[in-house]
Amino acid sequence: MISANVIPDRIAETLRRFPPFSMLPAEQVVALASRAKVRMAAAGDCIWEQGESPGDEALFVVRGRVEYLWKVEDRSERVDVRDVGDVLGFTALMRSEPYRVTAKAVEDCLLYSLPWVELLERLNQNDEARDYVRRHLFWISRLGSPVTLEEPADSSVAGRTKNILQGHLAGAQIIRPRPIERLLTCSPGDSIFQAASLMSAKKVPSILVTDEQRHPVGIVTSTRLVRASIIDGLPVETPVSKVMASPVVTVSKNSSGIASLLLMLRRRIGQVCVTEDGTPNSPALDVCSHKDLLAQSGHHPTGLLRELQQARSPKRFRELCDDIQSIVQNYLEAGVSAIYVGHICAELYDELNQRLMVLVNEEMTAEGKPLPEIPWAWMSVGSDGRREQILRTDMDNALVFASTGSSASDKVARAQFLDFSTRVIDLMTEAGFARCQGGVMAMNPRWCRTSEEWLDELRSAESFRQKDGLLRATILYDLRHVAGDASLCDELRSAAFTTVSGNPFAQRRLAESIVNTAPPLNFIGRLVVEKFGGGRSEPFDLKNRGMAPLRDAARLLTLKNHMHRRYSTGGRWDELRRSVPKLSEIAGLARDAYDFLMKMRTLNGLRRGDSGRFIDPGELTKLERAQLANVFDVVRMVQTTIRNDFNLDQRL
C-alpha cells in the first residue's frame, strides 16, 4: 500500500516521551514502532506467569498499571509496580531466562509489544539507553538473587565521567594535556635568571623544573622568584633548585578537572602538573592552573577562597556564602558529582570557619578576654565532618580542649571556649547557616569538652545501650579537624575507631540501625508504594529512607575493615570498592546511589529553599522515578550485605 501511515508515527510519539526511547534517535523509534503490535489486558489478567519463558517481545505500558507478584511457597508477594511509560520483561529478555515473577494487570492496560531482538540491537548502539536498561535489572535483587552486571572498566575514580547512575548526565570536564611544546621547563642547575627570562619570554606564570627524563622535580612560580630575588635578595645566579617548590603536586592525564581543582583548593596551590601516570615519577605533560581549568566558568571557587580570607563584615560573609550556593547549583546542574561538590563546599566553609575564628579571637583579645593558652581544636562532626553539608540548612560542630588536670580550671576554660564558640556560631548564623536542630554545636556544653571527657565517652561501651548514645556516637565517628590543634582531633578519631573496631556489640547495634528501615518499592504518581499495604500519598523522606542506610553502612564497613583514611560517604565506598574485593561491586553501586541522592536532595533544597530532605513523589520525572527505584534496590542490596556480614538473622 499504503499512503502516509500515521500509526507508527503516533506510536513513536508516545514511546519517545519515555526513556529509554527518549534517548534513541527519532527515526529508530519510528522503525521500531512500525514493527510494533498493540495489545490489551483487562484488570486481573496475567500478562505472564512466573516460570514462563519470555517470547520475543518487550511490552511498553501505554495505559494502566501492572504489578509483579513473586510466588514463594504459598505466599504471593508484591515486589514491584510498573505503570505508564515502563517496559515490562527487560530482565527475563536480557538474560533469556524464565520470568521470575508473575506480571498481573491491576488496571486495564494498553501495551505496545516491541520486537525484542531489534530493540536490543538499537539499545546496544546507544550507551545512554543501554545504561538505562541495565539499571532496570536491579529490582531482581528483591527476589533474593544477586545481580551481576558487566561494568565498563573505569581506570581511576577521579577520571571517570560516566558512572552507572550518572550515565545520562554529561560528565565533568577532563584534563587533556596540551601539545608538549607549550610546556616550559628548565633543569635544577639553571639559574633563576634563566628561569625568569624564559617565563617572561613565554608570558607564563610558572616554570617546571625537570630532570633528564622530564620527570618533574619542582616548580618555580613568579611569586617565588619575587620573594627569592627581591625579599631574600638572592643573587640571580642562584640555581632554581634552591627556590623551587618541591615535590610537585601531580595528576594523571584524563583525570577529572573538578577533582584537580579540588586538589589545588585543598593544597592551596595555583597549579598542578599533569604527568603520564599521575605521579612525579613519570614524564611531565603539562602544567594547569585553575584558570586553565575554569576558563569558561564565571564562578571560581579558588577566587572565593581568597575573598573569604580577606572578608571582615558579616554582610560580606553572607554574600560570599550566597555565591558559593550559586556555584553549587551551577555545578550540580552541569552534572558534576554531588560528592565532589560537597568536598568543594567543605573546603570553602572550612576557610570561612577558620577566618571567623581568627576574627573572634582578635575581638576577644581586644576585649581583654583572650582564649586560655592551652591546645584546643574546632571539629566538624556529622554531615559537616563527612564533607556533605552543601546547603546552609544545618551545622554540626564541636570543640575539644586539652584538660588542665584540675576540674576548677577546666570549668573556667570551658566557659571561655563556650563564649568563643557562641561568637563564632553567631557569625555563622549571620552568614546564613541554620543552627543545628539537635543542638550539635560547640556552644553547647555537651559538645564542648576536654579531651579526657571526650575520650571517656568514646571508649565507653555504654553509649551503645541507649538510642541517644548511639546517635551521638555516629555523629562523632565523622569528626574532622577544622581549626586549632589537629593532634587533639586525631586522638579522638583513633579512639572512636579503636572502640568500635574491637566491639562486636557496638557494631551489631550500628548494623541493626542500618537494616531497620525498608526502602519503598516504587512511586506511582503521588503515591509511595510500599512492600506491604497500599500506596501512601505523603512527602517522601529522602534522607532517612535513602541516604541514611548507605551513609551508615559505609561508616560501619570501613570501621570493620579498619579503614580510617576517608571522611566522606563517597570516599568510604570508593575505598571499600578498591580494597575489599567481595564488596567491590556493591560499593561501586552504593557510591553512585549516594551521589545521586545527594544531588537530588541538594537540587530539591535549592528549589524549595529548605534542606531538600522531603520530596513530593508527584513532582518526580519518569527518569528520576526509575533512578530512585534503582537506588532503593541498591539500598536493599547494601542492607542484605550488612545482614550477612554481621549475622543479623541469628540471635546473639
Binding site: M1, I2, S3, A4, N5, V6, I7, P8, R10, I11, A33, S34, R35, A36, K37, V38, R39, M40, A41, A42, A43, G44, D45, R63, D108, L110, S113
Partner: protein, 227 residues
Amino acid sequence: MFGFGKKSLPDFAEAYLAKTSSKRPAKAIPLEQLRFAVIDTETTGFEIGRDRLLSIGLVIVAEDRIEVEQSGGWLIQQSDVPLNDAVRIHGIMPDESAEGEPEAEVLKDLLPRIADTIFVAHHTGFDLGMINSALFRHYALKLRNPWLDTAEMAIKTLDAFARTNYVAQRPPGLDEVCQQCDIRPMARHTATGDAFTTAEVLLSLCARLRRHLGRPLTAGDLPIHRG
C-alpha cells in the same frame, strides 16, 4: 458459484473468493486464532451507491494484537469531490484526492489483505456497503467475509450501552465507546486513525468480555455474522 457470471473474474478476485469463506468461524476456535481486518472509510457522503470512497484505513488484528506492520491506509482518487458536510469532517479536499490512487487499484490491493479475515468496523453496514458498492462497480464482486460490528459488540458488552426498551435508542458512536473504554482516539476522522481506534475498541471489548466471563474467549463469544 455465481451461475450467471459469464465473464470471468480477475485473478486477484478469484484468489480472494477461493480463500474466503462466508461462514462464521466454528464457535470453539480460540480468539487468538482469529484474524480480523478492521476497516474505516472516509467518503463524499453517507448515501451508499451515490457517494464515493475517499480513503480506506485497514488495521489487522491477529493473535489478539494489532499488527502495525500490516496496517495502513489508501487515499483514493476521485474526480468529483463535493465540498459538503462530510468533507468538512474528514478534511480531504478535491486537490488532495487528486493525489490518490485510482479506486480500482486500491480495491485490487485491498482484497488479498482482507482475504480469510473477519471484517470489522464501527457501524459495519456503512463501510461494508461503500466498499461493496465500489467493488461491484469495478469488478462485479461483493465481499463475503463474516463480519463484526463494534457498535453492536459495545451494546452487548458495556453496561452503559445495554439495550433498553426505548424505541429511539441508537447504537453508540465511536467517540462514545472510546470514552467508555478510556481509549484516546488516534487521529480522529482519518481512515487509518479511525480504523486503529476501532481496533483498539475491539481489543478492549474482548478484554472486558474475557474478564466478565472469567475464561479465554472463543469465536462463539463474539457477535460474528455470516458474510
